[in-house]
Symmetry: C2
Subunit: 333 residues, 2 copies
DNA sequence: TTGAAAGCGATACCAT
DNA sequence: ATGGTATCGCTTTCAA
């Protein structure tokens, strides 16, 4: 027994050729259903391939027929319904283009994002992602690949961005609350970064436009539990609030639950408005009023833009790469 | 202007070598951070690569360093939370193995499943999927690839299966209802295939074991709306039911909504038990009692089994490829 | 530190 | 209908 056992060598097309007593081109023909081959020969080749357990190398094949593309989709958490919807849309758009999608879930960890970007370059032709690393690091890690950033501006030439413009939607939401008589409106912002979010800016602007005071703000983790916690805190500090605008639907759903526990009935005692427009919002009680994004468009645009970047077809107008948001009235406000 | 414009040729390593005035091995060294290269040379190469917009071919690279694996994950609908959870688990397991996952969403359409299987073979080293095509067709389309079927038995040598055993869990569920005084218990089965589901068999067995009549069964589409419809129908035919076991959580959530609309309070007027144990079930009102599957294990096992199949390491015991289910009491029953 | 040459495993083109 | 040969773009020896 050799001590340098090296594992079974890969079965190549040549092995099949030898076993079937033909040349490798003939094997190729048989396997790819090309014509120009005798029926008997073909069968013999197929049998040999089967017997040897032959599987063509996708790399060798890809090398010679340069006609398949894949995009890497990098997201923080597939179980977060927002990203589920974006991912589903990306898959659908990719299917339409005949592209393959390699999905990476970084579990909200920066090191995983870094690790992913490190390996992704050797697997795909372009990257689409909701990324949190500094841009120069992304530039370095993606070694020349086209990159499409979701909900984040870019600077590098190689990059592009799909942006979210929720300003009009948030204004509509606050106006809606104002008209319904709400004056003391708070916001639950996210707690990820140290600075307030862009959504908070929109909220601020909308409140100011209505002549309202926008200072009742607390922060929450991006999870149902985070929203629950956050609303408790917000209401502890501002018990007189009659309405709350939430950073997103996930947090809003946590808020709904917290309100119930606090004995505050929604929307009678407390109006709640979310952001994102997740399907999930229709399943909770009461159904969530929200500033709805077209997550489908978001995912689709991202993949399509990646394809555009790769083929070098000209730049598209920024507004075509921007997804708007509109107020969707349901029952929570 | 030549009328036979052929598009920009791909930038290869040789182009970079020429531009930098070095050999291509030197370029390779520079790009892969190998040592054995002068700092100045390295920088010159990197600059040239940058200037030319060079990106290494993943196929060429993969061909020579045969060290990366990918698995194709084929599911009917990523937006169905059950598959979201399975997919997330699969991604996590794959990450641990250093594998890449190419995801395909067939949108519940058989033709798409067929189309996917047709192209997937040239992209991955193994396939994991919740498939509905006849096995002989899958065998044919996947041309030699190892295949792991989720929630479905296999016959082919090349295949393996991850099975769900919910019998004990369903028995526990029915016993729980029985103990709580329920006697008239119905079931909402799925409507996909013509025959009753395996879960229906479990229900049947459990009811019989309790000495109860298991004939109140209706069918529902696998969606929230389907569950809503289905429960209406079931209660129309059997108005005296006091409890319902649902094919899965999605349908159960529809049932919850239907019950509310019918003015039946859950669990007081109607107890509801789902199947799957989705996180989603904790968000609805009331939180859903369910026969919970370990979807995490399901996805992870599938990917790990695919890896095992590929490396040819011996077969694993069937019970290690089976995911159990247990009754998770929440508030709907 | 750098370069030349030999593959990796398939397909395409051109003979026969 | 079948085979020979070049080729895809890169990394890995092995020399220099």
């Amino acid at each position: 027994m050799a001590s340098s056992e090296t594992g079974p060598r890969r079965v190549t097309i040549d092995d099949v050729a030898e076993a079937a007593g033909v040349s490798r081109q003939t094997v190729s023909r048989a396997l790819n259903d090309k014509g120009e081959i005798g029926v008997a020969t073909k069968q013999r080749v197929l049998d040999a391939a089967q017997a040897l357990g032959y599987r063509p190398s996708r790399f060798a094949r890809g090398l010679v027929r340069q006609d398949t593309f894949s995009v890497g989709l990098v997201i923080p958490d597939l179980l977060n319904p927002f990203f589920t919807e974006v991912a589903a849309a990306a898959l659908e758009a990719a299917r339409a283009l005949g592209w393959h999608v390699v999905v990476y879930d970084t579990g909200d960890r920066v090191e995983e994002e870094r690790g992913t970007l490190e390996v992704v370059a050797s697997q795909v032709d372009a990257v689409v992602g909701y990324l949190s690393l500094p841009e120069d690091e992304i530039v370095r890690l993606t070694r020349g690949l086209p990159v499409v950033l979701i909900d984040r501006k870019h600077h590098s030439e190689r990059f592009s961005s799909i942006l979210i413009d929720g300003e009009a939607g948030v204004h509509a939401a606050i106006r809606h609350l104002n008209r319904a008589g709400h004056r003391r409106i708070g916001m639950l912002d996210h707690a990820e970064r140290s600075e307030p979010s862009v959504r908070h800016d929109w909220f601020d602007g909308a409140m100011t436009a209505c002549g309202l005071d926008a200072r009742a703000v607390a922060r929450a983790d991006q999870s149902v539990e985070g929203g629950e916690h956050g609303l408790h805190e917000l209401l502890a500090r501002h018990p007189d609030l009659t309405a709350v605008f939430m950073f997103n639907d996930i947090i809003a759903i946590g808020g709904l639950r917290a309100a119930r526990r606090l004995g505050r009935q929604v929307p009678r005692d407390l109006a709640v408005i979310g952001f994102d427009g997740l399907r999930l919002g229709t399943l909770v009680e009461p159904p969530l009023t929200t500033v709805a994004l077209d997550t489908r468009a978001l995912g689709a645009l991202a993949v399509e833009e990646a394809a555009r970047l790769l083929t070098g077809s000209g730049p598209v107008r920024t507004d075509e790469l921007t997804v708007g948001a509109e107020l969707r009235l349901r029952e929570s406000a």
